[in-house]
C-alpha cells in the first residue's frame, strides 16, 4: 500500500515521499518500460535516428561554418556556379549562394514551418474533437461537416488562395500558420473518432459513476490514453505541413528571402538547374526532404504500433 503513486494526478495532496524517490519511481513505472518497449520497435528508433542525424548535421554546421553565406552573391561574387569543392562543400548556385550554408540554414526553417503547422493544427483539432465528442448533437455535426468538407478540398489550393492575397508574400512563421488553417482537419477527425470510441468504454462510465466531472474525465481518464494518438497525429501533421509548404514554395508563393528547402527547390526550377547540369544544387534539398519525410513516417508508424494494442502484442 505504501508504494508511491507515480500516476497520481497533480491535484491530489503532495505525497510524503521525497521528490527524487518520486522521480525514480516514475522512471521505473513509466519510462523504463517505454525504453524497453522502444528496443522492440525499430521503426520508431530508426525514424528518430534519421531526424536526429539531420539535426546533428545542422547543429554542427552552425557551429563550424559561416552560414551567413546563404545570401545571394555572398559566396564568390565574381564567378558563380561552383561545383562542390573543399571551399564550398555543396557548391554554389547561379546567384552566388553558398549551398552548404543554404542547407544548414534552410533545413531548420522548413522543420520550423512543419512544427508550427503541426502544433496549431493538432491543438485546434484536439480541442475541436473533444468539444464535438463531448457536446454531441449540433456542435458535433458542424465539426464533422467542416472536417468532411476540409477532407474534400485539397489544402494546397486553399493555401494558394491565402498566399496570393498576402501582400509581400508569406514569412516562414506565417507560412506555418497558414498551413495550420487547413491541416487541423485530419487530427480533428481521427481524434474525434478515438474520443467517441473511448467515451463508450466501461472505465469512462465507471469514472463518471464515481462522481468525476466532465473535465476530470477528459483530462484524467481520456487524455493519458490519447497521448500516443495525439503524438502520432502531431507527427503526421508536421509531415503534411512540410509537404504543403514545399508545394506552395515550389509554385513561387513562399518566403523569397528565406533559404528554406522548398525555396531552394523553387530557385532550381526557376533557373532550370537541371538543364545547366547543376546536380549539386537540387540534390541536397531533395535528400534533406526525403530524410525528413521518411523519418517522420517511421516515427508515426512506430507510434501507431505503440497506440494500437493489437499491433503492440505482436511486437
Amino acid at each position: 500500500m505504501d508504494t508511491p503513486q507515480a500516476s497520481q494526478s497533480p491535484t491530489s495532496p503532495p505525497p510524503s515521499r521525497s521528490k527524487t524517490d518520486e522521480l525514480k519511481q516514475l522512471y521505473w513505472d513509466r519510462i523504463n518500460p517505454i525504453i524497453r518497449y522502444a528496443r522492440r520497435n525499430p521503426p520508431l528508433i530508426f525514424g528518430v535516428l534519421l531526424l536526429g542525424g539531420l539535426m546533428l548535421f545542422v547543429g554542427i554546421g552552425y557551429l563550424v561554418y559561416d552560414t551567413e553565406q546563404y545570401r545571394v552573391l555572398s559566396a564568390d561574387p565574381g564567378d558563380t556556379r561552383h561545383p562542390p569543392s573543399l571551399q564550398y562543400p555543396f557548391g554554389t548556385d547561379t546567384a552566388g549562394r553558398d549551398l552548404f550554408a543554404v542547407a544548414i540554414r534552410g533545413t531548420p526553417l522548413t522543420l520550423r514551418i512543419g512544427l508550427i503547422a503541426g502544433f496549431f493544427a493538432v491543438s485546434f483539432g484536439t480541442v475541436l474533437a473533444f468539444i464535438a465528442a463531448y457536446y454531441r448533437g449540433l456542435v458535433d455535426g458542424t465539426v464533422r461537416v467542416m472536417a468532411d468538407v476540409g477532407m474534400t478540398v485539397p489544402p494546397l489550393l486553399i493555401l494558394i488562395l491565402i498566399a496570393i492575397n498576402i501582400e509581400g508574400g508569406l514569412s516562414v512563421d506565417q507560412m506555418g500558420l497558414a498551413v495550420a488553417t487547413v491541416a487541423w482537419v485530419w487530427p480533428a477527425r481521427t481524434i474525434r473518432a478515438q474520443v467517441l470510441i473511448m467515451r463508450e468504454q466501461s472505465y469512462v462510465e465507471i469514472s463518471r459513476l464515481s462522481g468525476s466531472s466532465g473535465m476530470a474525465i477528459i483530462f484524467k481518464e481520456m487524455m493519458p490514453n490519447l497521448i500516443p494518438y495525439i503524438t502520432a497525429s502531431f507527427v503526421t501533421s508536421v509531415a503534411a505541413g512540410i509537404l504543403a509548404s514545399i508545394g506552395l514554395e515550389a509554385l513561387g508563393l513562399g518566403p523569397f528571402d528565406s533559404p528554406t528547402l522548398g525555396m531552394t527547390i523553387f530557385w532550381n526550377i526557376q533557373q532550370s538547374s537541371i538543364i545547366l547540369g547543376m546536380w549539386w544544387w537540387w540534390l541536397p534539398p531533395i535528400v534533406a526532404i526525403v530524410i525528413v519525410f521518411v523519418g517522420l513516417f517511421l516515427i508515426s508508424s512506430g507510434l501507431d504500433e505503440w497506440s494500437n494494442p493489437r499491433l503492440r502484442q505482436r511486437v
Binding site: T152, P154, L157, N165, I286, V290
Partner: protein
C-alpha cells in the same frame, strides 16, 4: 443493442415487400439524396471560402490586380479600359458584399468562371477547357495505374506466403511513398532526360509538331507523357503499397482468414477472394480521401515538366497574378474532387455489401 433479428428484418423483409416507389423513397431518402446534398454543401462551402479569403485582407482583390496590371502596362494595354469597365459591371465592385456574393454564386451555378486578366478577353472557361484534357489524360491513366500496381505490390508484401526476398522491396517503397512526387520528377528529368536523353525534357509534345491525329503526333505525346507519368506512378505505388501491406497484415488475424485456411482452400483463392478482397475496401476509401492530395501532387508535377495541363495554367496564373484564372482552376479542382468522392461513396456499396442504402 439491436437484436440481430430486428436488423435483418429492416434490411431484408422491408426491402422485399416494398413497392417500387417505396424503394425509391428509401434509396433516395436515406443515402443518395443525403450524399448528394453533402456534395452540394461541399461545393457551396468551398465556393464561399474562396469568396471570403481574398476579402479578409481588406482590399478588393480584383481592383488590386487590375492596378498591378495597369502599372505593368505593356502587352495588355489595349482593351484594358473595357476590361475594367466590364468588371465593374459584372461584379458590381462598389455594391454591398452580399450582392457581390449573390452574383458570384449565380455565375458559379452557370459555371461561368469569369475572364482572364492577363489574357483579356479570353474566358477562364476556355483556358481551363484547353488545358484540362491534358490533365485528365495524364492523371486518369496514372491514378488508376498507380493504384492498381501499388495495391498489388502491397498485397504481395503483406501476404505471409510470398517469397521472402520481396520484403527487400519494402524500404524502397516506403521511401518512395514519403517523397513528394514532383521531387521524384526532378530526379527523373535529370537522369533519364538530361543525362541519357531518353525522353524529352518538358512539354506535352514537340513545339515543332502540329497537333493532329497521326501516329507521329500520338507517339510524340506518349513520349512526353512517360516521365511525368512515371514520377507520379512511382510515388503512388509506394503510397498504396504501404497502406495495402498494413491492411493485409491486419486481415491475417481475422477469423474468416483462419476459417478459409481451415476450409482447405487453395492459396491463390484465399489470397484473392479473402485477403485482397477485404483489404481492398479501406484502400478504395483511401483513394477517395486522398484524391485531392493526388491532384495537388499532379499540379506540381505539371509545373516541373511544364506540361500544359491545368496545373501549368494555375502556375502561369499565379505568376501573372491572374486572379480569376486561379479562382477558376481552384474551383474546377474542388468540383472534380467532390464529384470523385461522391462517386466512390455511391458506388462503394457494390464493393462492400455491409454498406447499403438503408443505413449509414
Amino acid at each position: 443493442m439491436t437484436p440481430d433479428g430486428v436488423r435483418s428484418e429492416s434490411v431484408v423483409s422491408r426491402l422485399k415487400h416494398a413497392t417500387f416507389t417505396e424503394l425509391l423513397f428509401v434509396v433516395f431518402h436515406s443515402f443518395l439524396l443525403r450524399r448528394f446534398l453533402f456534395f452540394l454543401l461541399v461545393i457551396w462551402i468551398a465556393a464561399t471560402v474562396i469568396f471570403i479569403i481574398p476579402r479578409l485582407s481588406g482590399q478588393d482583390p480584383v481592383k488590386e490586380k487590375l492596378l498591378l496590371e495597369a502599372q505593368r502596362g505593356g502587352a495588355i494595354q489595349t482593351g484594358f479600359e473595357q476590361m475594367a469597365e466590364a468588371y465593374q459591371k459584372r461584379l458590381g465592385l462598389d455594391q454591398p458584399i452580399l450582392t457581390q456574393y449573390k452574383n458570384y454564386m449565380f455565375d458559379l451555378v452557370r459555371f461561368d468562371l469569369g475572364t482572364s486578366i492577363a489574357f483579356y478577353p479570353r474566358s477562364v472557361n476556355s483556358m481551363i477547357a484547353d488545358s484540362i484534357l491534358w490533365t485528365i489524360g495524364l492523371l486518369g491513366t496514372v491514378i488508376v495505374l498507380g493504384f492498381l500496381i501499388g495495391t498489388l505490390a502491397g498485397a504481395l508484401l503483406g501476404w505471409p506466403r510470398s517469397p521472402g526476398y520481396l520484403q527487400f522491396l519494402f524500404m524502397p517503397l516506403l521511401t518512395l511513398s514519403a517523397v513528394p512526387q514532383y521531387l521524384l520528377g526532378l530526379i527523373l528529368i535529370y537522369v533519364l532526360a538530361f543525362k541519357f536523353s531518353w525522353f524529352p525534357l518538358f512539354g506535352a509534345y514537340n513545339p515543332g509538331t502540329l497537333p493532329s491525329w497521326d501516329f507521329a503526333y500520338i507517339w510524340d505525346v506518349i513520349q512526353h507523357a512517360i516521365l511525368p507519368a512515371l514520377a507520379f506512378i512511382l510515388g503512388a505505388i509506394g503510397f498504396w503499397a504501404v497502406g495495402m501491406r498494413g491492411m493485409m497484415i491486419n486481415n491475417q488475424g481475422e477469423d474468416f482468414m483462419i476459417q478459409a485456411e481451415a476450409k482447405g482452400l487453395k492459396g491463390a483463392r484465399i489470397f484473392m477472394r479473402y485477403a485482397v478482397r477485404n483489404a481492398m475496401l479501406p484502400q478504395v476509401t483511401g483513394l477517395a480521401l486522398s484524391y485531392g492530395t493526388l491532384l495537388s501532387g499532379a499540379i506540381l508535377i505539371e509545373r516541373i515538366f511544364m506540361y500544359p495541363g491545368i496545373g501549368d495554367t494555375l502556375f502561369q496564373a499565379i505568376r501573372l497574378s491572374d486572379f480569376f484564372v486561379i479562382r477558376g482552376v481552384v474551383m474546377t479542382v474542388i468540383l472534380s474532387v467532390a464529384t470523385a468522392t461522391f462517386l466512390v461513396d455511391v458506388l462503394y456499396p457494390l464493393l462492400d455489401p455491409r454498406i447499403n442504402y438503408g443505413r449509414r
